[in-house]
């Protein structure tokens, strides 16, 4: 694709940029962008990367506590768990890709969140997930459930991390838009956490992992666009996960980190090379020049545009200590992975992309992030449903029948079918397996243990977003305390409909405020998270679903409590109101 393509309003629209956003670009760079540059802006300024609708509200979340080492803004959040160790964790959605190709969509979602965690120098010790599907009777549901569950298992089992918990729900409002939220947790030495910010001028930028293909081009844009009726026809290139390569990438990364080779590291997630390179530069207050001729490609004739937007999986970008380059390369070759110096840091604060001797992009690197549009979208709170007096409602069925109905309902029935497809014992540290209130995993050789739980009740969030947000946090807190853990921090995954609709924005704002309120009250900070908007089909939004993933600490894992009754004749106590 030549650098001379005329940028038409249609082309701008195809890139998901609104006319006023395009005006902003023209003002920022003082000329018409090249096609590659337009692609870079579309990737950086879409909802997924820029959080343009949600940012103002997310600022209200509490993110600090004495035990927080790193709050939101890096690949994952980091908390101190004592003994010189840190717990690194995050949750992220892969909703739209999973609806289009459930196995690969879910698998690459797990792969992405695992990379976020080990990029920071942590060895993953557990995965969880929160899944929302349409009504069990909907014709697509069965296919989605079996594909998503197999995909999550397929990736995590092969990668070698236990999947220890999660949640599954069914509701017709997810018929055309399932939710796949994956959480990963890792352990690192607290004094050896790795960040994205580059430092030093003239440092080699190294490309690691698998080769770049034409996977998921426009994927990042897709993740922010509402599904129309033609979604099934316009099937974008699907990303295929390769857990084997990712396992090699993990071992190689941890090895070169231990050898002290790494200055900065960033996972290539959505918007691949573009977001990883600009983030490393911008965070380090440096420019970056990339030479795309050096990028390992899987397919022939890839253009600069395609390379910059490719979402091929299992790739990383790193800034290496120059004197350690050879050592690092030898380690990567040993693991059979690609290793290429593809650029360097510069003092110019510009993001320069060269390909075949031509400059394909030359943009101000800091502004690419900071000048992204930010919206204070109008929001309305829907009238609250009228409160119902409990005594005025007649029991529709007798108690036993009601109990049987509840136990048999898809939301409450046993999820064994799901979690038996996940290896939940690998590592030999799973103290409490799926099936309880929270999973418990021993930390190294003990005596500490970590507890994890994912929670939210979307119908509460719809009835009253503020109370629903609070309740999700409180439920997570309760699940952690129920196994004997001290709750420390959460990650959140906020799944909502189209934020351009004031009532949806109202749900979002209400839930976020509720989460903030509960987190403040409980001293339970948010250290990482993810927002997924535009979860709509034919204009109908999903239920507001802010998934909460909580982490708690047990000083002695052998003292964790399980939910099973232990013997006959014991007293049963009810605690609380």
């Amino acid at each position: 694709m030549p650098n001379t393509v005329k940028i038409t309003p249609e082309l701008v629209a195809e890139h998901g940029l609104k006319p006023d956003e395009y005006e902003r670009i023209l003002k920022l760079i003082g000329r018409e962008p090249t096609l590659t540059e337009l692609g870079i802006f579309s990737a950086m300024w879409n909802e997924h990367c820029s959080y343009k609708s949600s940012k103002v509200h997310l600022r209200g979340l509490p993110t600090k506590a004495p035990w927080v080492i790193q709050g939101p803004g890096e690949n994952a959040g980091v908390i101190d768990i004592g003994d010189g160790l840190a717990c690194v964790f995050k949750m992220e959605s892969h909703n739209h890709p999973s609806y289009i190709e459930p196995y690969q969509g879910a698998a690459t979602g797990v792969g992405g969140i695992l990379r976020d965690v080990f990029t920071m120098g942590a060895r993953p010790i557990a995965c969880l997930n929160a899944l929302s599907f349409g009504a069990p009777s909907h014709p697509k549901t069965r296919h989605l459930v079996s594909g998503v569950v197999a995909g999550i298992g397929g990736y995590g089992n092969s990668f070698g991390v236990p999947t220890v918990g999660g949640s599954v729900r069914f509701h017709s409002r997810y018929d055309g838009n399932c939710l796949v939220n994956a959480m990963a947790v890792g352990i690192a030495r607290a004094d050896q956490i790795f960040y994205a910010a580059a430092s030093g001028v003239g440092m080699p930028i190294v490309y690691l992992g698998s080769k770049t293909g034409r996977d998921g081009i426009h994927g990042a844009t897709m993740a922010s666009a509402e599904f129309g009726a033609d979604a099934e026809e316009k099937r974008p290139t699907v990303q295929v996960g390769d857990p084997f390569s990712e396992k090699l990438l993990l071992e190689a990364c941890l090895e070169i980190m231990a050898k002290g080779c790494v200055i900065a590291i960033q996972d290539m997630g959505a918007a691949g090379l573009t977001s990883s390179a600009t983030e490393m530069g911008a965070k380090g207050d440096l420019g970056v020049t990339l030479d795309l001729d050096k990028v390992p490609c899987r397919e022939e004739g890839m253009t600069a545009y395609e390379m910059m937007l490719s979402e091929s999986q299992e790739r990383m970008l790193m800034v290496l200590k120059p004197e350690k380059e050879q050592e690092a390369e030898a380690i990567f070759r040993k693991w059979g992975l690609d290793f290429a110096v593809v650029g360097e840091t510069t003092p110019t604060k510009r993001f320069v992309v060269k390909h075949q001797g031509e400059v394909m992009a030359d943009l101000p690197i800091i502004e690419l992030g900071t000048e992204a549009p930010e919206y204070k979208r109008p929001f309305v709170s829907l009238a609250k449903l009228e409160e119902i007096e409990a005594d005025t409602v007649q029991a529709p069925v007798d108690t036993i029948e009601a109990l049987e109905k509840l136990i048999a309902s898809p939301d409450l029935c046993s999820k064994r079918w799901v979690w038996e497809q996940y290896d939940h014992v690998i590592g030999g540290n799973t103290v409490q397996r799926p099936g309880g209130d929270a999973a418990v995993v021993r930390v190294e050789d003990g005596p500490k243990g970590l507890a994890f739980s994912t929670d939210v009740t979307p119908r509460y969030c719809e009835a009253d977003p503020f109370e629903g947000g609070k309740q999700a946090v409180a439920e997570c807190w309760r699940n952690l305390t129920a196994v004997g853990a001290k709750p420390l921090a959460i990650t959140d995954n906020l799944n909502f409909g189209n934020p351009e609709k004031p009532e949806i924005m109202g749900q979002f704002v209400g839930c976020v405020r509720g989460i903030a309120e509960a987190c403040k009250a409980l001293d339970f900070p948010v250290v990482s998270g993810n927002v997924s908007l535009y979860n709509e089909t034919h204009g109908r939004a999903i239920l507001p679903t802010p998934s909460i993933g909580g982490v708690g600490l047990l000083e002695d894992f052998t003292k964790s409590a399980t939910l099973a009754f232990k013997c006959e004749g014991e007293a049963i106590l009810l605690i609380g109101e």
Binding site: E101, R214, D215, V238, V240, G241, F244, S245
Partner: protein, 81 residues
């Protein structure tokens, strides 16, 4: 009636298996292999019916509905008689 449905990955779709096999062939000393892509075959025995066109129709249905994941795979149908 015997038939074969062959399912292959679309061009450009990552094939981790093929890649691993390429590497393994090389380290076994088998030289000259530029690339490997892995696919599936389904050998299907059909009941009765000597009507080829009908058989093909049936196999296409089977491929579309189940045997191939048309998001990432192509298929071809061969009635062997």
């Amino acid at each position: 009636m015997k038939a074969r449905v062959t399912v292959t990955l679309k061009t450009g779709v990552l094939d981790p298996q093929g890649k691993a096999i390429e590497g393994a062939l090389r380290s076994l000393g088998i030289e000259g292999v530029a690339s490997v892509r892995q696919g599936k075959v389904f050998d299907i025995e059909l009941e009765g019916t000597a009507d080829r066109a009908k058989a093909e129709e049936l196999l296409k249905q089977a491929a579309d509905k189940l045997l191939a994941n048309t998001v990432v795979e192509n298929y071809s149908v061969q009635v062997l008689g």
